[in-house]
């Protein structure tokens, strides 16, 4: 066996070993307190092009706090933190994540991606949109591109870490999505049942942060900064379980 082949084999074994010992971090997010009532997006309903895309009888509403019957909280970005994770993004080779524009709303509205990962923005609507990113981090460049009905997907890449980088449509100014860019693959967004799973985390001690876009906002910060609820965990081969409570006063 040549030296090159040996090195490849060793690397493969090391990777397999890591996956073999890596565990999943799971948990659930619960909301404490009463969130504000969501509002009907009346400009959408009244818009000539978008209004007819809304199914009859439905009235689209804002989705600031997506809360389940037992206070399960969706759209919370959960991220591992630690110096040993910095710069471990595999975004360049990771499959793209998809952000759709459907019935003049972004779907989903909260998502997370690795730095360098491709974000495909689709336009499933028969109307024109423009996709306008407004980053706060100096490492990320603002872009504003039109996307006609039926136009090819637009590709966006976020090079630097940033929390809740805003995507907006200026043509339909109620359309927003927020993408958190992380420079490693260990993050998740909580689902409608409030649960999240961060897969294949190497064993070790970490800090873990849960950020809800509204609840984590640092007052008086402009551009907006976010500070979530932080905990410490130890991940073993069996993984780890950590729950969060996010409070709305």
């Amino acid at each position: 066996m040549s030296l090159k082949k040996s090195l490849f084999a060793l690397a493969g074994i090391a990777a397999l070993t890591q996956f073999a010992t890596a565990g999943n971090v799971t948990g659930k997010i619960t909301l404490k307190g009463a969130p504000p009532a969501e509002r009907e997006i009346t400009p959408l309903i009244e818009d000539a092009g978008c209004g007819k895309l809304v199914p009859a009888g439905e009235k689209p509403k804002t989705k600031f706090f997506v809360v389940g019957p037992n206070n399960e909280l969706a759209d919370v970005v959960v991220t591992l933190k630690g110096d040993n994770l910095k710069g471990k993004s595999t975004g360049a080779s990771a499959p793209p994540i998809v952000l759709d524009q459907k019935a003049c709303e972004y779907v989903p509205q909260i998502l997370a991606a690795q730095t360098g990962q491709t974000i495909l923005v689709k336009n499933s609507d028969p109307v024109m949109h423009n996709v306008h990113t407004t980053p706060a981090s100096p490492g990320n460049k603002e872009e504003n591109r039109g996307q006609a009905a039926g136009a090819p997907d637009l590709k966006f890449v976020i090079p630097a870490q940033e929390n809740f980088l805003r995507f907006k449509c200026d043509v339909h100014p109620w359309m927003f999505a927020w993408v958190t860019a992380v420079d490693h693959p260990y993050f998740a967004v909580s689902g409608k049942d409030g649960t999240f799973t961060i897969k294949d985390v190497p064993p070790g001690k970490y800090k873990i942060e849960a950020m809800h876009r509204r609840a984590a906002l640092v007052p008086n910060s402009r551009p907006a900064e976010y500070k979530g609820v932080e905990k410490e965990i130890e991940v073993t081969a069996d993984g780890a379980v950590v729950d969060f409570t996010i409070e709305v006063k």
């Binding site: 407004t134 100014p173 907006a224």
Partner: protein, 437 residues
């Protein structure tokens, strides 16, 4: 009632609509006045559409300039034009082009035959400068197209062979001011789009240019409205026959005080418009959601904890920036200045005498300010409905114009002995102004 009647007498009975009071004007002067009124009305409409753009938060719905989605501005497909916020932004650009052309024509009219040569030189220089910018690189493409385009219009205005007289008094100078301001305003509007994302000294240029563009638009409206007033037969008689600027020796102390009140109230309105433009271009929605109280108190809690709570509880639909203590303070200042303006305008009205032009102006002014305060309250109660917020901008602009008219008239008044010497004027009854005497 008095305010409505004032409006009719002072503005609607303009010489271009009736021959009333136009005995001292030639037909050409009347047509010139009509054109100036048309330009002022077009500018007011433009201010309104600009207000709609900001109220809807669609300033970047067309991300390129002076092209629109790569099309020549006048070739944008109708289907695209009618899509969402593109409609407001693109219409604003088209109407702005019309206003720009009207102002160049107005300048040519006011400047007379003597303005032809400078217009030709400026037009050619702008075309060459525009082509030069295009050659520098793609970053300058927008400004290059804009300059060469407007240079073409200016050149055309200079080439037009009409031997008309130069307008009297300061009108040509005011025309040149309008000529330069409209171009600067157009450039600022374009730069607000193309430099939107640039940040200088922690200030987003899109926001900074937006505020300056909004305020300059109001100042430009005042200038064009003043030209419309000063081209009227009413003003002609006011200056030439009945009233002349008072000298310090003959001036009554009361009228000096009145002038100061008019000036004070107008300056306050200007400051208020600046505050309003700053609030609107923050794109943070309503910083305070209730009125007349503020977060349920006379003075809102602006502690860090309170700001966090406000942001958690607000549900904005179109303007997603969180609010800060600065924005809350700014809206409180806006409310206080509104009270001061209302008080100052009422003082102006009370200090004028019945039946005088200044009385009519100030009555109209009081009416406008009351409407404006109501619209301000309604803006909050409607959660910043775009049409209500835009009406607030338009009535604010009209209040500023009315204040400028009041200042202009009060500073040109004749008092004391000079008034007596003008007593033989046929229209003295209409024009006599015995303010505060």
């Amino acid at each position: 009632m008095e305010a409505a009647a004032s409006s009719q007498r002072l503005f609607l009975s303009s010489d271009c609509l009736t021959a009333n009071g136009s005995m001292n004007q030639t037909a050409a002067q009347r047509w010139r006045h009509c054109f100036a009124v048309l330009t002022a009305l077009a500018t007011l409409i433009l201010v309104g559409i600009g207000g709609l753009v900001t109220s809807h938060g669609v300033g970047m719905a067309v991300p390129d300039w002076p092209t629109s989605y790569g099309y020549n501005m006048f070739a944008l497909p109708i289907s695209t034009w009618l899509t969402g916020g593109i409609f407001h932004e693109h219409t604003h650009r088209v109407v702005a082009t019309i206003v720009g052309t009207l102002v160049v024509a107005l300048m040519r009219w006011l400047g007379g035959n003597a303005s032809r040569r400078p217009l030709i030189i400026i037009g050619m220089a702008e075309i060459l400068a525009g082509l030069g910018l295009l050659a520098i690189g793609p970053d300058w493409k927008g400004a290059g197209h804009f300059l060469s385009g407007i240079g073409g219009v200016v050149l055309l205005a200079g080439i037009v062979w009409v031997k008309n007289q130069t307008a009297e008094g300061k009108l040509p100078t005011l025309g040149w001011w309008a000529f330069w301001l409209v171009q600067l305003q157009g450039l600022l509007g374009g730069l607000r789009v193309v430099l939107d994302a640039h940040i200088v000294a922690d200030v987003r240029l899109g926001t900074a240019f937006g505020i300056v563009h909004g305020c300059l638009g109001q100042a430009f409206l005042v200038l064009v409205a003043i030209i419309a007033l000063m081209t009227s037969g009413w003003w002609h008689r006011f200056v030439q026959n009945d009233f002349k600027p008072a000298t310090g020796a003959n001036e009554l102390p009361q009228s000096t005080l009145l002038r100061r009140w008019f000036l004070f109230a107008t300056v306050l309105i200007s400051a208020q418009l600046l505050i309003g433009a700053t609030m609107r271009h923050q794109h943070a929605g309503l910083a305070i959601p209730d009125f007349p109280l503020a977060y349920g108190a006379l003075w809102p809690d602006m502690s860090t904890e309170a700001i966090a709570k406000y942001n958690l509880q607000r549900v904005e639909i179109t303007e997603a920036h969180p609010i800060t203590a600065f924005q809350i303070a700014l809206q409180m200042v806006h409310r206080i200045v509104a009270l001061l303006i209302a008080a100052a305008v009422i003082v102006c009205w009370r200090k004028t005498s019945a039946g005088t032009p200044l009385r009519r102006v100030s009555a109209l002014w009081v009416g406008l300010i009351l409407v404006q305060v109501s619209l301000g309250a309604w803006t909050i109660w409607s959660n910043k409905a775009a049409d209500v917020a835009t009406a607030h901008v338009v009535v604010g602009a009209l209040s500023l114009v009315t204040g400028a008219y009041g200042c202009l008239i009060s500073f040109r008044r004749l008092t004391g002995n000079r008034f007596a010497t003008a007593a033989d004027s046929a229209s003295k009854t209409v024009l006599a102004d015995r303010i505060s005497v």
